[in-house]
Symmetry: C2
Subunit: 187 residues, 2 copies
Amino acid sequence: MTTSEQIMNTATVLLQKHGFNAFSYSDISKLIGIKTASIHYHYPSKYDLGKSVMEKYRLMHKAALKKIDAESNSPLKKLQDFADLFSCTMGIDYRMCPCGMLTTDISTLPDSIKIEVQGFYIDSETWLASTLKEGLENEVLKFDMSPGDCAKTLFASFEGAMLSARAFEDKNRLTKSLKQIIKLIQA
Amino acid sequence: MTTSEQIMNTATVLLQKHGFNAFSYSDISKLIGIKTASIHYHYPSKYDLGKSVMEKYRLMHKAALKKIDAESNSPLKKLQDFADLFSCTMGIDYRMCPCGMLTTDISTLPDSIKIEVQGFYIDSETWLASTLKEGLENEVLKFDMSPGDCAKTLFASFEGAMLSARAFEDKNRLTKSLKQIIKLIQA
DNA sequence: ATATGCCTACCTTCTAATAGATAGAATAGA
DNA sequence: TCTATTCTATCTATTAGAAGGTAGGCATAT
């Protein structure tokens, strides 16, 4: 793994665990055994680093969605697979979705990062909307709103469920809520 | 208003807007025209201040729930009134619920604050659970889980909806999602 | 005269960021 | 092929400013 990858991975974990305003170049430097000046070489400013973290995370997330589309055929199974992505993230010492973390910090971030955060919402909501539409047509799912609106509500609820699991360090809170939310729109 | 109240109110707003790790005693001092040393007189450490903020917010929130119970009789109306609390909070320049903000910061906070944050979840979830139970018995609401579990999911979803509205600075996202979530459990 | 509330002045540590040096790898020209 | 140069990645050293916090002084009100 290259140094710049190591930096980004470490920054991602610290962001997921503590938030953007609660980790420093010094934290990263101690974790990977490198001086802070070297981190500035790869990522001139902390905002550059934050932007790169979200860019990479979005790419990985999009790839995960593509994989779900390729593997599952039932829209319901797809939704469950999507929910599993959240559970897996929490699985490793209560890491939050970086998007959720950055959303609380959003008023302290530059547009370059804000755009990536919003992009993550849109990526997820777009995928969810088309999956929900499919489920509605197949009569596997049932809800009284547009698939687009339902997607927004669903994604927000999933992020909220992560948050609440984190508050109690209780993964059960997440998995239970994810299941229940999906059940609410089942036909 | 006493100085200590002014400090707490200012801290509450800064917490709601930027998060615990993104405001300082210096920020508060500039906003209310007082020196940082004077803030330390009232709240020796920033953690003391954070704890007091959450304590007061919990009290106000409990009072708001009591008021809903006193005013509305239908469980459905009560739920809508509860949701309105979230909308009102967001209404003033996209302020988040302090509880949601502190939840993302939770790994950086002492137990004294963690307990207050969890307390806020429990206060809300307990109230929601009994309201949901009432709605279930009156056949105004319908869901296939325990009122307690439904309450947790509902509250988490509401917090998530706030977050997503914040990401886009779009209050509509919040109000729409709140309505849709309630509709999902309507009989 | 004593307690309250705020001040000035200071301290220490951390933070993000920069400048400049260096060592080694890659590359280009003779 | 040998040599000169440039690039890459790291380091040391330093900066300016902000952070949270403390000590002690000075009014005012009781």
